[in-house]
Each structure stands twice: as C-alpha cells, then as structure tokens.
C-alpha cells in the first residue's frame, strides 16, 4: 500500500530536522553555492566591462549570461553535492542499526519497498530544499539579462538526476555499516571513484577504456550544465539510481541484517 511509503517518508523527513545535520548541510550548501554564484557573477561583470571598453574597436558583442553564470554554477554545484550528499544519506539505515530500532522496524508490517523508497524520498526532499535555495540566483540572472530558460531547466534536471544518483549510492552504503562516519566516508569514496574513473583513459578507444569512461558519473553531467539534454545521459543516471536502489533491497534482504 502506498500509505506506508508516505508515513515512513514523513517521519524520516521530520527526523532530519530533529537533529542539526540537515540544518548544517543546507547552510553549508547555501554558503558555498552563494560564493560560487558571486564569483561567477564577478567574472561576468569583469568580462562584460572589458568588452564594453573594446566595443568601439571590435563592434558590439553579446555575452551569454546563462552559460557564463549558471553553467559555471551548475558545474561547481555538482562537485559540492558530491561532497555533501553522503552527509544526508549516512544515517538512513546505519542509525536504525546502531540504536537497535531496526529490530522493531522489521517486525512492523512494512514492505521493504515502502521502507527504502520512504527513506530515499525523504533524503531527496532534503536535497530539493538545498536546490531550491539556488532559485534566488535565477532572480538576479533574470534581472540583468534574458536567460535561456530551456538551458537552465536542463541544468536543473541534470542536478536533480545527479543528486538522486548520489543519494541512491549513499542509501545503499548506509545499509552496509552501523557506523554513520564509515557510511559517509564509504559513500564519499565510492562517489569519488565514479568521478575520476574516466580520467586515466579519456583519450583511449579500446572497449575497457570506453566503458570506464561511460561509467564516470560527472562526465554525463557536462551536457546538462551546457544546457542540452541527451537521452543517453538520462538513461545513465536512471540506471545508476535503479541499480543502487536494487542493491539496497538486496542488502536488506540478506541474512546479515537480520542476525
């Protein structure tokens, strides 16, 4: 029944705000993204000032603010998220195991699906709040230029898919250990591996290199940040999310969890 999914999600979401973790993570995210937006804006200001000085010689030139500011910001945010998402997911199952509440949790009539998805969607909701904080920047962009809304939407879609992928990996890792620190460190490490996996083989063309290159998680984000949506990238992220949620189910079902 759909009901229990929502019940679990509601509790998990509230639980984030019962502890300082969500506040700290959201605050840091707002601060850092604010800094990146500010620096992208300053660079834009500097460049446009230079261009206006040389306009008499070279003729008027158009600067794309959407790409220069938002594109830049999206790229930066993807790295910030990679660092912060593990902090959101680290507690999801680790905490239940640590304080023993898993024992009760698994004797209540909840299907694993409702449990995992409830927790996952709660984490996703916290992420959406983080993301929503960047909406104010759009106001600036709108005020000072004519933004390309499609490009911005593509960028946000990319961020959502990327964040959802990070969270899916994180929730899986949180089923593996009862220690929240280890949970965060492991997911951070795993995400890092998915980030750098393509670096060494970028220019090579053999199958293995191509595969590794394809697996690289941020590589698929560049197109989104530049404002275009490629179905192959969408498929990559959806597969990534599905795979790790599936691993989460398997991990819960495994005997290890239930003594």
């Amino acid at each position: 029944m759909m009901g229990n999914l929502l019940v679990v999600m509601k509790r998990e979401f509230k639980s984030y705000f019962h502890s300082p973790v969500a506040y700290a993570v959201i605050c840091m995210f707002v601060l850092i993204s604010g800094f990146f937006f500010y620096s992208a804006m300053s660079l834009y200001g500097l460049v446009s000032f230079e261009l206006s000085r040389t306009a008499q010689v070279t003729g008027p030139q158009e600067l794309d603010m959407t790409d220069m500011v938002m594109g830049q910001l999206f790229g930066n945010l993807s790295i910030v998220m990679l660092l912060m998402m593990p902090l959101i997911t680290m507690r999801l199952f680790s905490e239940e195991r640590k304080n023993g509440s898993a024992e009760l949790l698994f004797t209540w009539p909840i299907r694993d699906f409702d449990l995992v998805m409830g927790k996952y969607l709660a984490a996703l909701s916290v992420f959406f709040i983080m993301l929503a904080s960047t909406a104010s920047y759009l106001g600036f962009v709108y005020w000072y230029s004519t933004p390309h809304w499609q490009a911005i939407l593509a960028g946000y879609l990319g961020l959502v898919l990327l964040g959802a992928s990070f969270l899916a990996l994180g929730i899986f890792v949180s089923t593996l250990t009862e220690n929240q620190i280890i949970s965060a460190a492991l997911s951070f490490g795993a995400l890092l591996v998915f980030w750098v996996i393509g670096w060494a083989v970028e220019e090579k063309t053999d199958t293995l290199s191509q595969t590794l290159n394809y697996l690289s998680i941020l590589k698929h984000f560049y197109q989104f940040a530049r404002g275009s949506v490629d179905t192959r990238d969408v498929v990559y992220y959806l597969t990534f999310i599905f795979t790790f949620l599936f691993f989460t189910f398997r991990s819960l079902e495994s005997g290890k969890w239930r003594g």
Partner: protein, 334 residues
C-alpha cells in the same frame, strides 16, 4: 495460535535454537524461562518475523512466519529487550507513527486509539515528552504501547521488566496480566518469580532446547506433598529425628542459624513425604515431646527456582554459565 516445529537457528558454528518444537494455545500467557544465551531472544525474533530460522517452521495465527511474514507481522506486537525507540520523537508522535504503519489510516480513529493506548500504558501524562528524555520505566511503557497498538492477537515481550525498579516491575506485571485472555502472550524472563506470578504456563529452555514445556504443572504437583517447618532446638538431632517420621522421604534444611538458647539452632526445614501420608500430626507430637520450640509450620511450596535449578543442572552438568545463574538476580523482586 503459535506453533513451532523443529525450529533451529545457527549463528555460524553456534547453535542458538536447537530443534525446538512447541505449541501455544490462544489466550495463554506463556513464559519462556532460561539462562542468558538459552535461545529465548532468538526464538522470539523468529516468531516476530525479524529473522528467518535456519531450519524448521513456525506459524503464528495460522500463517508461516517466513513465507507469510507480512500477515504475521500484522498480528504480532513485539517488544524487544532493549526497547529501541526513536529518541528524537515525542511519545504521542511515536505511537501515532506505529499506529499508522500498522494500518490505522483514518486520522480521528487513530487519535482515539493512540489516546486509549497511552491511557492504558500510563504514559498519557508524558505524551508530549521526547522519548530520549524518558526514564527506563516510561520508555518500557512506550515500548509496550507500540506493541499493543493495532490490537494484535499475539504479544511477544522480551524481558519486559528488565531494568525497571520494583514498583515499575509490579505495575508492568499487572499490566501484562490484564492483557492475557483476549490475547496470546509470550514473555521471556530469567526471573522465575515473575513467570510464576504472571504466566499461565512456563516453558524452560536451555541451550536452545526445550527442557520442560509445562513447568507450572510440575510446580503445583510437587507442592502438595511438602511441609515447611521452622524449629528451634538441637540442630543435628532435629534432622535425624525428622527423618524417622512415618511417610517422610526427604528432609532438606533450607535455613540454619543460631537459635534463641545456648546450643540450639533455628532451622527452616522442608519435609517431603509420600502422597498418601500427612506427617504434620506426628511432627507436632515429636516437637512437643522433645521440648523444641515450634516457630512456624506451613505448607511447603516448591518454587519454580527449585525445578529450574534441578532441571538446568541435570541437563547440562555444571558449566560455569549455569552455576551462577538461578535465583541470585538482584532484580528478582517478588
């Protein structure tokens, strides 16, 4: 109502539950007795649907705990030993959460049920407190409340009175006793007095095996042919004279301390006799003729403790674990 058939649970090489079979009728309050590590918790976890058995099957209310886990979970209220609640939630919020998970969807109906349960378990006055700020006794009540919500047919309570103070223990026991009848209750304990007081039936488990499936019957049967007497007189003589009384099979000194006069001892003695005899008359005449003081004469009661010690030591010789266990628990308040 509950049926276990050759249940076995292994953790690696260690066998926690070993080929355990029993059945519990509806409405029974059944006590699982056994030393720590006897397999009580593992058995309860299997019955509550927390973990699957390594081998064997169990059914609760007609549903297999492994293949129809969801149906079983809907019918079972479970209270684990450590009472693992969410410390960051308020009392009413927590019970409301569990009520909703157990399928009580309509808000007004749920509010009423949550209120009733809080009333019943006595946590209503602390309904707005954070669970993390509650005392152990209150947390235990909240734990019981979450087990009771949704009106389960079966209650499984793992050491429900552990860590409580004497007053809380009394309250918890009377609460559990009231729950019987309509529901089938299994509770585990290593306190025999508790099982004796609360349960309608006692099962003794040791090393994962069922040692006695109805120790309560044995208790009442044994109690009929014992006499408990406290005498003040010459110690050795008392013992040897009592043994000579007609019908007496065994004389056990329960207590021996210096008497009220020189050279005498005050002894509390348990006298076992044959079914068809009553040595009380002979006993009193003997005491009068010898000039001993009769301090107390009563019906002997073989406590579950005795049976328990007897069975456990018979069962396993005297390994370290069992020697230290029975009857010496400081929380054993009767």
């Amino acid at each position: 109502m509950i049926q276990a058939d050759s249940l076995t649970k292994k953790y690696g090489d260690h066998t926690a539950v070993d080929n355990l079979s029993f059945s519990i009728e509806p409405g029974e309050i059944c006590g699982f007795l056994g030393p720590n590590g006897a397999g009580k918790t593992s058995t309860m976890r299997i019955l509550a649907g927390f973990m699957p058995p390594t081998a064997g099957t169990a059914t609760v209310a007609g549903f297999n705990v492994f293949t129809h886990a969801m149906e079983v979970k809907k019918r079972v209220g479970y209270l684990p030993e450590s009472t693992p609640l969410y410390p960051d939630m308020r009392v009413w919020e927590y019970i409301d959460y569990v009520a909703e998970l157990k399928g009580c969807a309509a808000r007004s109906d749920r509010m009423r049920k949550v209120g009733d349960i809080m009333e019943l378990t006595g946590v209503i006055s602390r309904r707005n407190s954070l669970i993390g700020a509650l005392s152990k006794g209150l947390r235990q009540r909240v734990g019981l409340a979450q087990a009771l919500i949704g009106d389960p047919q079966v209650l499984i309570l793992d050491e429900p009175t552990i860590g409580l103070d004497p007053k809380q223990i009394m309250e918890m026991r009377s609460l559990i006793k009231d729950l019987g009848g309509r529901r089938t209750v299994i509770l585990s304990s290593h306190l025999l007095s508790e099982v004796q007081m609360v349960c309608t039936r006692a099962m003794i488990i040791n090393k994962g095996k069922l040692v006695d499936s109805n120790a309560m019957d044995r208790l009442s049967g044994d109690a009929v042919n014992t006499v408990l007497v406290t005498l003040d007189g010459p110690g050795e003589q008392i013992r040897s004279e009592l043994r000579l009384l007609p019908g007496v099979t065994e004389v056990l000194v329960r207590q021996d301390r210096p008497g009220t006069r020189d050279q005498t001892r005050t002894m509390t003695i348990e006298i076992h006799h044959k079914d068809d005899t009553n040595p009380r008359g002979d006993l009193v005449r003997l005491v009068a003729s010898k000039g001993w003081d009769l301090i107390e004469l009563g019906k002997g009661s073989v406590s579950l403790e005795d049976i328990y010690i007897k069975i456990i030591t018979q069962d396993a010789g005297t390994s370290e674990e069992e020697k230290s266990l029975p009857g010496t628990d400081p929380g054993d308040v009767t």
